[in-house]
Symmetry: C2
Subunit: 304 residues, 2 copies
């Protein structure tokens, strides 16, 4: 059982009320891979420029992560993502991408990686995500994430990709914008009637909702005392969600719900540090303890 | 078992993307009372002006609501609340109160109502809320709600009242403002360490969180397809929460969690119509069906 992760391995400039980082390890694939590695073996497929520091590359060296798919483009520049958050960290104030080598140089899947059992396609070019799904032998589960940029640029192209995936993750504002619906429930249902198999709408600190033809599941947010940096929360959710599903090796409604809670749990750790720093030291034991706590915090019986 | 409800019985001017109403039945006590009457007998204590239409008074006539405590002030004007909501109905764009008779004329509890078993003090002058709690014989449970106006005007006075109540409800932005804390969890804990017994932070469409010294419970929002008007959601939550607790006649952690879900469930009906219009026809059977649905939508088992 192995999870293929694609997306950006990038440099992040982040500023929150609690501090700032410059050129730190970031991107969409990075937190997804680190989150997934808590549950299963992970392979990362991404491109970086010559300027990508060895020191950051070493941070990705993890017993369960194969980085052979991180290709360095000679003469190229690594993508940089800048984000600034104000006091209410649910929304970004400013956001600027310098896409670097990541858009022109799309790494094909390594031949020996075609047997990956699940694929987590963090934000990336929709046509590339489509090609990648097609190039795998027989993935059990695929998940596609995206960002506003691709919704704005070519929604029809994105829609085509979304229909191919088993799970699509969108954050709340993206879902409302993409579906042109004000309510989360209606946005979700509209995407499903448009051919998306299952959509997961990420609600930031308020949790996540999963909507498919026959299923609706809502999970509240884990109550965090302190959010240091929300960057990458959604990617770590996706990586943990899919990594957990890969590890249990079956996709039942019960397992999908548990995967949602594992995703939320790992995301709640991710936001405790700048970028993916918290994930670098996080253990499965810590995750399981908070997962059980999550249940305690949310459980109720219908009757007394 | 009888629930005393105080607060505004008022006239609402509401404008949402879906329509508008003028001088419709509103106020804080109105949805709280109608919500509570789904579970227990209710007594309303409020003042209105001479201009309060008989037609609206008749809407409050309900087999389980005693309106003998709604006093008409001769020559006075009924309070009017105006609210306008934009596309994202989580926040009000504009909001104006014309307080009418409700601030100078505070109705003392009717002597025969001192035996009320629970008291739901919807938004009102904090010193009046305090006097009212003191004037009851032996209420089993008291709940105090408030609004930004009272937090801004005299936070110390409000704090004194909050410490007297068994439950304090605040919406998210009020809790952050009052506690001067950015995170919901920290704002809640800060209020508790400041002497509030249990605080319920209302998260609008994202549910509610309950925080006390030994308990933390988070409930997601019920996934609604269409929100017509969010006015009064918090008041209907409070009325249903307390009405349910009154009806089961015990205040255990399990019953408090069920009360949170009943509160959220009734609030999810409240927002389906303008003002409290949906509550006027709502039945306990409809509430129980959605309550069970709520469980289905949120339940997960820790292990497979």
């Amino acid at each position: 059982m192995t999870m293929l992760v694609t997306g950006w391995v990038a440099l992040d400039d982040i500023e929150t009320p609690f501090g700032r980082t410059e050129r730190s390890l970031g991107g969409s694939a990075t937190p997804a891979a680190l989150a997934g590695a808590l549950f299963t073996d992970v392979r990362i497929l991404a491109v970086v420029g010559e300027d990508f520091p060895d020191e950051l590359r070493r941070k990705l060296e993890h017993p369960r992560i194969d980085t052979a798919g991180i290709k360095t483009i000679e003469g190229g520049k690594t993508s940089v993502w800048g984000a600034r958050y104000s006091y209410d960290m649910n929304s970004r104030d400013t956001w600027y991408p310098e896409l670097g080598v990541s858009i022109e140089h799309l790494p094909p899947v390594l031949p020996e990686w075609r047997d990956s059992t699940v694929a987590c396609l963090a934000a990336g070019l929709p046509s590339y995500q489509r090609d990648l799904i097609a190039s795998l032998d027989a993935p059990k589960v695929t998940l596609v994430d995206t960002i506003k940029m691709f919704i704005d640029e070519n929604p029809d192209d994105l829609r085509e990709t979304m229909r191919l995936a088993d799970f699509v993750t969108l954050n709340e504002s993206e879902a409302r914008e993409f579906a042109k619906m004000p309510s989360i429930a209606r946005a979700g249902r509209s995407l499903v009637s448009d051919g998306v198999k299952t959509v997961i709408i990420k609600l930031g600190e308020f949790g996540a909702a999963l909507i498919s033809d026959g299923e609706y599941f809502v999970a509240p947010g884990y109550p965090l005392e302190e959010v240091v940096d929300p960057t990458g929360a959604g990617d770590s959710f996706a990586g943990a969600f899919l990594g957990y599903l890969d590890s249990v090796n079956q996709v039942t409604p019960g397992e999908i719900r548990r995967a949602m809670i594992y995703g939320s749990t790992v995301a709640s750790f991710q936001v405790e540090g700048f970028g993916p720093s918290r994930l670098l030291t996080l253990t499965r034991e810590e995750v399981d303890a908070r997962y059980r706590k999550f249940r305690e915090l949310t459980h109720f019986e219908v009757d007394g």
